[in-house]
C-alpha cells in the first residue's frame, strides 16, 4: 500500500476531506465521510491520517498538506544525494572527480536545508519520515546516477510548480528562528533552486557524454518532452492533461500563437524550452513512490 497515494486519492475524491479535520471532534465526524470513499482495506490508513491531522491541530491544514508533500520530496532528494556520496559503487568515480563531488555535495546541502526549513515550518504537523529509500539501481555508475539526479530535479521543479496555484498568496508560516514567512514566496525560492540544480546536472551529463565520445545534446533546459534516458513520465503529461501538459507543450494561452511569431518563426522545440510545465501531486508520487520504502 502506498500511503502517499491513498492520502492523495482521498484529497482527489474530496478535496476538503483533509481540511475539515482540524480538531479532535471533527476528526471523528469526518471519518464517516472518508470511509465511504475508500475501499475497506484502506480505511485504517485513512484513519491514521485523520488522527495525525488531529494531533497536528494546525489551522490551514491545506497549506500544511502541501508543505508535507514538499517535505516528502525534499527528504527523498536529500537521501538520494547523501547516500550517493557514501555509495561504494560511486566512491572511486567521485574520488577522481572532485569538481563533480563538490557540485553534488552542494546540491545535497541545499536539499537538506529544504528538509530542515519545511520540517521547522510544519513543527508538530510534519509527517514522519518513511522507513527508507531504495536507490540501489541509481548508484550503478556515475552516468546512471546523473540520469536519476536529472529525473528527481526536473520532477521536483514540476512538483513545486504544480502546487503554486493552491497556496494562498497571503498564507504565512512561522519558522522557528526565522519568523513569519510567506509560504508561496518561500516555495518559489525553493523551486528556483531545484531548477538551478536540474540545469547543472543536465549540463554535467552533456559534458560527460561528449568527453567520452558519446553524444548528449541537452543543455540546462528541457527540450520538448525529451527524457534522454530518464523516465519518460517525468516529462510527460499529468492528470488532467489540460492542466498539466507534457513538457512538449507549446500553448500557454489559447489566444496567443507563438509559432507564428519571431524571425525566423519560433520552433516548437524553442517554445517548449521557454516554459517549464507543472505536474500534479498523484502523478509525481506515482513516479517517486518506487524509490520510497513507506
Amino acid at each position: 500500500m502506498n500511503l502517499f497515494q491513498i492520502i492523495s486519492e482521498i484529497s482527489n475524491a474530496d478535496p476538503e476531506a483533509l481540511e475539515r479535520i482540524n480538531d479532535r471532534r471533527s476528526a471523528l465526524s469526518a471519518l464517516g465521510d472518508i470511509t465511504k470513499k475508500l475501499a475497506l482495506a484502506a480505511a485504517p490508513v485513512a484513519i491514521g491520517a485523520a488522527f495525525n491531522k488531529t494531533l497536528a491541530q494546525g489551522a490551514g491544514s491545506s497549506v500544511n498538506s502541501i508543505l508535507n508533500y514538499a517535505l516528502s520530496l525534499e527528504r527523498l532528494e536529500a537521501a538520494f544525494y547523501t547516500q550517493a556520496l557514501a555509495a561504494p559503487t560511486l566512491a572511486s568515480a567521485f574520488g577522481a572527480n572532485a569538481a563533480l563531488r563538490a557540485g553534488v555535495d552542494k546540491i545535497r546541502a541545499d536539499e537538506q536545508a529544504h528538509v530542515d526549513l519545511l520540517a521547522a515550518a510544519l513543527g508538530t504537523a510534519a509527517s514522519p519520515a518513511p522507513r527508507g529509500y531504495n536507490f540501489t539501481a541509481a548508484y550503478a555508475n556515475i552516468p546512471t546516477f546523473l540520469t536519476f539526479a536529472q529525473a528527481f530535479e526536473d520532477l521536483g521543479v514540476r512538483a513545486y510548480k504544480g502546487q503554486a496555484g493552491y497556496i494562498p498568496r497571503t498564507a504565512m508560516a512561522n519558522v522557528p528562528n526565522v519568523g513569519m514567512v510567506n509560504v508561496l514566496q518561500t516555495a518559489l525560492q525553493i523551486h528556483a533552486v531545484e531548477a538551478r540544480h536540474a540545469s547543472y546536472i543536465r549540463y554535467q551529463r552533456r559534458m560527460a557524454a561528449n568527453a567520452s565520445g558519446g553524444s548528449q545534446n541537452q543543455f540546462g533546459w528541457i527540450t520538448l518532452d525529451q527524457a534522454n534516458g530518464a523516465p519518460a513520465a517525468v516529462y510527460g503529461p499529468g492528470n488532467p492533461a489540460a492542466m498539466f501538459p507534457s513538457e512538449a507543450n507549446t500553448t500557454q494561452n489559447a489566444a496567443i500563437n507563438l509559432t507564428t511569431m519571431g524571425t525566423p518563426a519560433y520552433t516548437a522545440a524553442e517554445i517548449s524550452e521557454s516554459f517549464d510545465e507543472p505536474l500534479d501531486h498523484p502523478t509525481v508520487l506515482n513516479i517517486a513512490s518506487p524509490y520510497i520504502i513507506p
Partner: protein
C-alpha cells in the same frame, strides 16, 4: 552587507513604494537580505554613475495590480532579449561552439518570453518598447558578457520570485512559475560557463532559498541598462 538591508526594516527607502501589507513587506526584507541581493543592488547603483538618465528621458509607468506585474516582467524580458540578441550578433572573442549554442538558445527563449507578454498584455495597458543601454558592456569580452548575463538571469529569478505573491490571478502566477524556472536554468547554465560549480553559490542562502526581490530593488539594478526611467511604484498594488 546583509545587515544593512535587514536593519533598514520597513522604513528602508527601497521598500517605501511597495504598497503591500506589513507582513509581506517584512518578509521581503528577510528574503532580500542576502549577500547576493545586496551585491546586485550595489552593482546597479555603481553603474548609475556612468549612466545617469538625462532630463528629457521619458518616464514609463508600469501600472498597478496584475497588469503592473505583467509590464514589469515584459520590461525585464525586453532587456534580456535585447542583450542576448546583441551577444549573438556580436560574438565575443573565443566563443566556443557550446557557448554559441547556449547564447543562441537563450536569446530565443527570452525573445519568446518578451513576445508572449507583448501578446498577453492588453495594448491599452502595455508599456512601449524600451531602449536598452549597453554602453557599459564590452561585447567582445567573454568575461564581461557572461557576468552581465549572470546578473540579468539572477535578477530575473529574484524578480519573478518576488512578484509571485503580488499576482492575484492564479493563471498568471502559473505562467510566472513556468518562466521563472527557465530563468533559473539559464542562470545556472551561464554560471557554469564562468565558474564551474557556481550554479547555486552566492545567490542561494543557508536555508537553501534563491533570492526574492521587490520590484523597487529589481528596477534599481536594471535601470542602468534601460534609457527610459521606469516607475514600478504601483506594481502589484
Amino acid at each position: 552587507m546583509s545587515d544593512n538591508l535587514q536593519s533598514g526594516g520597513p522604513d528602508n527607502q527601497l521598500e517605501q513604494p511597495l504598497l503591500v501589507p506589513i507582513k509581506r513587506r517584512s518578509f521581503f526584507m528577510y528574503a532580500g537580505a542576502t549577500a547576493g541581493a545586496t551585491a546586485l543592488v550595489l552593482a546597479g547603483c555603481k553603474k548609475d554613475d556612468d549612466n545617469t538618465p538625462v532630463n528629457n528621458t521619458p518616464a514609463v509607468d508600469l501600472g498597478s495590480g496584475d497588469v503592473g506585474v505583467l509590464n514589469y516582467a515584459y520590461a525585464l524580458e525586453q532587456l534580456e532579449a535585447a542583450f542576448y540578441a546583441e551577444v549573438v550578433s556580436r560574438p565575443y572573442t573565443g566563443m566556443t561552439a557550446d557557448e554559441q549554442a547556449i547564447m543562441r538558445a537563450i536569446a530565443r527563449h527570452e525573445a519568446i518570453h518578451r513576445d508572449f507578454f507583448k501578446a498577453a498584455i492588453p495594448a491599452t495597458n502595455r508599456i512601449a518598447n524600451l531602449t536598452p543601454n549597453f554602453t557599459s558592456v564590452d561585447f567582445s569580452n567573454r568575461q564581461r558578457v557572461l557576468e552581465t548575463a549572470r546578473t540579468f538571469e539572477d535578477l530575473g529569478v529574484a524578480a519573478y520570485n518576488g512578484a509571485g505573491p503580488l499576482l492575484t490571478d492564479v493563471s498568471l502566477l502559473g505562467i510566472a512559475g513556468k518562466i521563472v524556472s527557465v530563468e533559473a536554468r539559464h542562470a545556472a547554465q551561464i554560471r557554469e560557463l564562468i565558474t564551474p560549480g557556481s550554479f547555486a553559490s552566492d545567490v542561494v542562502n543557508a536555508r537553501g532559498l534563491d533570492q526574492a526581490l521587490t520590484p523597487a530593488q529589481v528596477l534599481t539594478a536594471a535601470q542602468p541598462f534601460i534609457r527610459e526611467n521606469l516607475n514600478g511604484s504601483r506594481v502589484g498594488a
